[in-house]
Symmetry: D2
Subunit: 140 residues, 4 copies
């Protein structure tokens, strides 16, 4: 990530923590998606509008995450988000979870594919969206 | 609840428990709703069909819950469900959370109102649904 | 609520909305609790510290909510929070969910009881905490 | 997966579905973990006991998932679980989500590392646990 990434705060709540005393691994994805929703609004493509218009959808077809350090209740963290691999049919997002001392707690990625909601078939990623995403891409 | 209630198992998971070591109060509602979904399927009105048909919706307009004993990870519990107060515009559900020794951990209720999804206006509860619900009502 | 309430933003996410197209009623409680966590930090009693110290816990023993208007994806809402009924053994919180036009979408309440975590018995609410809460109480 | 896998039902609920009308990708992990909790109980290592005893913990250090077909409200699915790569310090789990017609909706994996909870350091996977896991391993 050599481009300035998009940043979104992540303050783990009481209910993010599980019976083992650390973040439930599956709850990370809520926070990643919060950052992604904020990012899409920031670049001019708010998800509620994309869904309401219904021209295309951007479902996640792949995700992965690595958990490097335990995440605890109330730790002030930051999700850093950068766009990767924009192509004809979709794009990728990389996420890094850091604290204020730049310590890395987790990394993750999502792959989004453009589909036509009615047909549930792939559709080309709109060129205007591609341009918006490129500003936050680390592979321009 | 003098009628035999509908029963649905509730086994609190790792992620139902929060940083304080007990069930997060808000997660109870997922489990109540699981019991309600199972109940509606049992009485012949599965929610996915009601939603797909789109003739009416049954949003929850009120809920309350009392937490009597702490609920912990892996405790084998049961949700007991009974229908209350069926009227023109909706119905109520009472829930009791018990263990195998009949100890009461929580009680809760939901109130469902029949609405026409398009207009977001009240509509009368279909008579056929009312009949189905009455079998599990404790106030026949 | 005649006192200035504590305010916390609530922007319903993609996953707050359910198969019926509106906020899942149970997800309201996550957002109420986010407001409560932010409030407790604001008044000098952050939950992670209370839990780490272990002198007392403040479990929710009762909650209720009324859903007045459907809440949709991306609607910019605000949780207004005010303390009610502080007594020997606990306190209540009232919540109101409004949009920027002051339209009321939901109201809710929680009742917290002070307990000694080890014994799981009631303990008196610390006087210093009571004083902190009183600043946001609408029943001074 | 040539061994008979462990199976756990997965019936997507109202609140598993998001504003786009399909399973929220992050909610898959709750259901994978439900299958994992049921599996661990089945092989004699219930998570609540492992946590209560506190000798070791099995946090997830990596996960990935591929979403092949949209998952909708009320679809009767099955999580198939098989153990992979048991080694000194941990083990992997593979998951496949299928319907009754054997159609594949998603695949996923988790990697668990054995740690000593106090020190937050790796510890060897207990030999007895390794033996229990091997019965469901596809790489014996």
């Amino acid at each position: 990530m050599d481009q300035t990434p998009f940043r979104h705060p992540f303050l783990p709540t009481l209910y993010d923590i599980d019976a083992a005393g650390v973040l439930f691994f599956g709850h990370l994805f809520r926070h990643l998606h919060d950052a992604y929703e904020a990012f899409m609004a920031e670049v001019g493509w708010p998800l509620p509008e994309i869904i309401a218009e219904g021209r295309f959808a951007l479902p996640i077809v792949h995700t992965s995450a690595d958990y490097l350090l335990p995440i605890r209740h109330g730790q002030a963290l930051m999700v850093e988000l950068a766009v990767t691999e924009i192509d004809e049919s979709g794009f990728g997002i990389d996420y890094r979870i850091r604290d204020a001392d730049n310590r890395l707690y987790a990394t993750a990625s999502t792959r989004h594919r453009c589909i036509a909601p009615e047909a549930q078939k792939r559709c080309p990623l709109p060129e205007a969206l591609r341009r918006s995403l490129r500003h936050y891409s680390n592979s321009r």
